[in-house]
Amino acid sequence: MTALAALAAFGLLALSGLAAAQTVGPNAEAEKCLSCHGDQSLGTIDVGGVQKTLFVDATVYGTSLHGLLDCTSCHLGFKPRRHVAAESANWLETAKLTACGNCHADQFAMYSGSFHGHLALGQTGSNAPLCADCHLAHNVVDVHSTAFRRSILDLCGRCHGGRSSTYLDSYHGKAALLGDNATAVCTDCHGAHRILPASDPASTISKQSIVQTCAKCHPGANRNFAGFLVHVDPRSPHSNFWVWLFYAFYITLIVCIFTFGGVHTALYIYRGFKDGLYNRRGH
């Protein structure tokens, strides 16, 4: 029994060693697919009115995190031939969503219970993001990379534009835009796979857990501290009255002082010219 396990383990090791030894680039199975899909003139396919290219860039895929996988790991059931209807049915949803769960079961389970997952799995034609909408497909990137972290604002902003613009007005957003890679981005507060509305007690931003979420970066955070409003638009009285009030007050004050100062300056200089005050000697 133990011998068998040892043998199996040895076999696995040898296999993984083989895999690692392979040079970066599509494997032999993938080459079969690429004999057609590596051709840029292959054309496009209509997906719900959007034209998607059938071409796959071998270098992009080969250097991606998934570069060593067979194409059929995600495109389940496809054979290297002119594809039949049975293969192509639902192919996009499979590749972007259901197939991911085969390897990433934990993340898939969390996603299924999330707000996005509920929409995506429960309604046909919802706009909710599928796995590949955030993680990308042939160019899937390392989520721990700085590049991915920096791209999160844009990823979320594609649907949550208003939210991301108010975030950018907060200190986190300003710092992130100007190159601070450690400051909090969307997923640090909202989570990634298991995003839930604030009204759900299990959400990272619910009344019950927000203080803990802030405390991840701000040890000692208290309830008042967590009451800081990340998504507030100072230009609207409906967003937060007090923030708007001070904003409106200051804009008015600035306009008044600058108008008065500007007029005063212009008239002073005008009178200076008229009276020849600039021509006097001695200073």
């Binding site: 008042n224 409003l229 007090w242 923030v243 200089i269 005008y270 001695g282």
Partner: protein, 286 residues
Amino acid sequence: MASTTAAVTEPRTYLEYKRFSAFHRWMHFLVFVSFTVLVFTGMPLKYKETHWAKWVMDAVGGVTAAGVYHRIAALVTVFYWTCEVLLMVYVVFRNRGRGVFAPGSIMPNKKDWADIKGMFRWFFGRGPKPQFDRFTYWEKFDFMSLVGGTVIIGLTGFIMWFPMTFTKVLPGVFINVALVIHSNEALLAAGVIFIFVHLFSAHLRPESWPIDKVIFTGSLPLEHYKEERPLEYARRVQEGTLGEVLVVRRITWRTRLTDVIWYGITAVAGLAAVLMTVFIVWSIFS
């Protein structure tokens, strides 16, 4: 012909009117340095979406480093503000509370209001130019807005610096409000200091054109002073206190060297201020 004579007889010793003590000049130097640092490390945050913001942030060493410099300059600000206020309190005590609103004081009084009206009459050619005592109304405004503005910008700055401490008692929305106040007060302060105080008062105003150096040298020629602040001059003659403000300024190689150094620093800071002003104005109107 005339110029040759002038060159030969050019005096090297002047009788001048002393307007600012060494204390005031050093205070101005601290304001000058700390304010420039605060504006350069703060404004990119306010205009974060612009190219110049990224450029300035990278130039000062990144967001995190900028935050450190901003806090160091904030401490310098607290220091000069405290010195200035302590001096004011001391002066009030020394005079036993008398003369706080007297003609030579920095505090506003009724004559300032009359002067504002008088200046507008003069602008439109409907009256003589009002005569001023030691400080004009705009000088008082500039000074008071710095002393008062520092309280506002300092308090809100400290709320953002130590949010955990302040939210022990204050609700979280105070941090939001603090940011709005700090950010806009900074815009106001930078505008007033860069444009009205310096570009206008120190350079473009006919009495200063092309440059008013008194905050660096401390004194100005007596003739110029009599013309600019006739009321103070008359008052001092009458009180018999003119001697208190008369100094002999000797031009030596050392004073010339100091002048050159000051011109250098001023030119660099001036360029920086002009650059920042252009950036901000550009961002507001685009």
